[in-house]
């Protein structure tokens, strides 16, 4: 009796889903992803400290809880309880809004990320894509939203009314603009092969073993995308906006307490996003490297998150290995190296697709990369 009345809340008499069901599904999926991202961010900082400790032959954090596992929570509580100081001569409204503007794009970009496919233990006949919004222009959406994150940094630097913060903001803007273009062209080469801007479709196009992944025909673009990604979320060796040896902490030098933590939250969320998008575009998304592994009862999400975790490890590895780029070298790399490379590879892929007699390069019995033909 109770079960039926509960059921009637979510389904009409003919079994159709009610508005309440749709709303509930949205709220639950948004909560699942945002809480998941926030927790992942917390433990990415732990992972980063432990890995860098390991690379530099020291312990890393190991005091709070077993193996230091409670350290991110202790850090969070500490930052939350600290006093937030707003500088007297700052632009108060923008000073408070800027961290929010930095964090929101980093989180809403996850709305289109497909985390896998599921039939919900046989509840649905056809496997459905696990995403909040399965839109046709997913790639464009991710590009557009990730280009917004610069506003938080720019406004934070300007509103602080401080020289160092301002210089950090200016560096960040230049960096974003230079690397976004080569990133966009790297994505265009993927679109030329996949023939769709839907992220789930791009993953479907790479089904059936690692020899079908776009990593192989687009290997230079994969490198460009990964390095530009590191620059886009200002990770070392491209962390010029916060270069602590030159401009103290860059754009967030005036921030304290929880507003300060918000910027780190946004930065790590952006790093997780870039790792997920790279795995989806180039590393076959939720498909296992060998087709027989897909037959095992392992959810595809595990493969996707595993690939993303490896890329996060690579970013941390970068940080522990490379010294920081000088500013003019960073601009040179973006405009004079990556941009020509991506444009050239665009032409190469175009020629390989349409030159008669050369189709076998991208479409052969072993691997068929062109999904739309």
């Amino acid at each position: 009796m109770i079960w039926e009345s509960v059921q009637s809340l979510f389904f009409n008499l003919d079994g159709a889903e009610t508005v309440l069901f749709t709303l509930g599904r949205w709220v639950l999926s948004i909560l699942a992803i945002s809480i998941g991202v926030a927790l992942t961010v917390a433990y990415t900082t732990y992972m980063e400290r432990r890995i860098i400790g390991w690379i530099q032959v020291r312990q890393g954090c190991n005091r709070v809880g077993p193996f230091g596992l409670l350290q991110p929570i202790a850090d969070g509580i500490k930052l939350f309880l600290k006093e937030t100081i707003i500088p007297a001569k700052s632009s108060k409204f923008l000073f408070v809004v800027a961290p929010v503007l930095a964090m929101v794009p980093a989180f809403i970009a996850f709305a289109v990320i497909p985390f896998g496919e599921t039939t919900l233990f046989g509840y649905w006949d056809e496997p459905r894509v696990m995403t909040i919004a399965n839109v046709n222009i997913g790639v464009l959406y991710v590009m557009a939203i990730s280009s917004l994150s610069v506003y938080g940094i720019l406004l934070a630097g300007w509103a602080s009314n401080s020289k160092y913060a301002f210089m950090g903001a200016i560096r960040s803007t230049c960096q974003m603009i230079s690397y976004e273009i080569s990133m966009g062209f790297a994505i265009v080469t993927v679109l030329m092969l996949a023939g769709s801007m839907n992220l789930a479709e791009i993953v479907h196009a790479q089904q059936g073993g690692f020899w079908n992944w776009y990593l192989i025909p687009l290997f230079p673009m994969f490198l460009v995308f990964l390095i530009s990604g590191a620059a886009e979320c200002s990770r070392c060796p491209f962390d010029l906006p916060e270069g602590e040896s030159e401009i103290v902490a860059g754009f967030f030098v005036e921030y304290s307490g929880f507003w300060f933590a918000t910027f780190s939250l946004a930065e790590y969320a952006a790093m997780i996003l870039i790792s997920l998008v790279t795995s989806i575009l180039f590393l076959g998304g939720w498909y296992a490297p060998f087709p027989f592994l897909d037959a095992l009862p392992i959810p595809g999400t595990v493969w996707l998150l595993g690939k993303a975790a490896f890329l996060i490890f690579v970013f941390i590895w970068f940080r522990a290995t490379f010294p920081r780029y000088r500013y003019d070298q960073l601009m040179r790399l973006g405009w004079k190296v990556f941009l020509p490379w991506t444009l050239a590879w665009l032409a190469v892929i175009g020629l390989l697709i349409y030159t008669p007699g050369l189709e076998w390069v991208l479409e052969n019995p072993i691997s068929d990369w062109i999904a739309w033909r």
Binding site: N136, I137, S147, L148, Y151, L154, I177
Partner: protein, 212 residues
Amino acid sequence: MESLFFFIFSGLAILSAGFVVLSKNAIHSVVALIFCFFNASALFLMLGAEFLAIILILIYVGAVMVLFMFVLMMMEVNFEKLREGFMQYLPLGLMISLILLMEFAAAAASNIFVAVTHKTDPKTGEFILDEVTKNIIPKAEPLTAQVNNAAEIGKVLYTQYMFAFEVAALILLVALIGAVVLTLRTRKDVKYQSIPKQVRASKADRLRKASL
């Protein structure tokens, strides 16, 4: 429900557009303009034109406004002085907006906008003819979810409007080259690094064995 959202988004767009003009601080104006773009993009989304909506954000908010804000922050502009001419330029501004409004009305009333209905045989689905209705004021209607915006725009852009598209691309190329030519000055008095030279340098160039 839909008209409620329409009024929310268009109202916010108008309010923020007003704030762009009236704000005392140029940075606040830019922030308001960005907000205005977001509302316009939400209106596009309500029409089902998701490609246009995202392109608006990607190009205008993500690139153009960033540069705009960047330049404004770098420049030392005396805004109080700029504001003195506000009343002086008001009649001119009103006139321009009036002309624009009249142009919109004239365009809507002209025969440029026609409704084309594809007539197909209901049984076989074969194409019969295009029925053209003239003299209409175009009514924006949301597209169905099945229409892939990006693909449809691509189809007409690379066939029907190919010439206009190529001309626009050429104009942009000329502007690009113009900007490079204007700013390309080789200065002799600055220290400049030649990266190929640095990479090519070997131990023999730099080290000399001194006999002690």
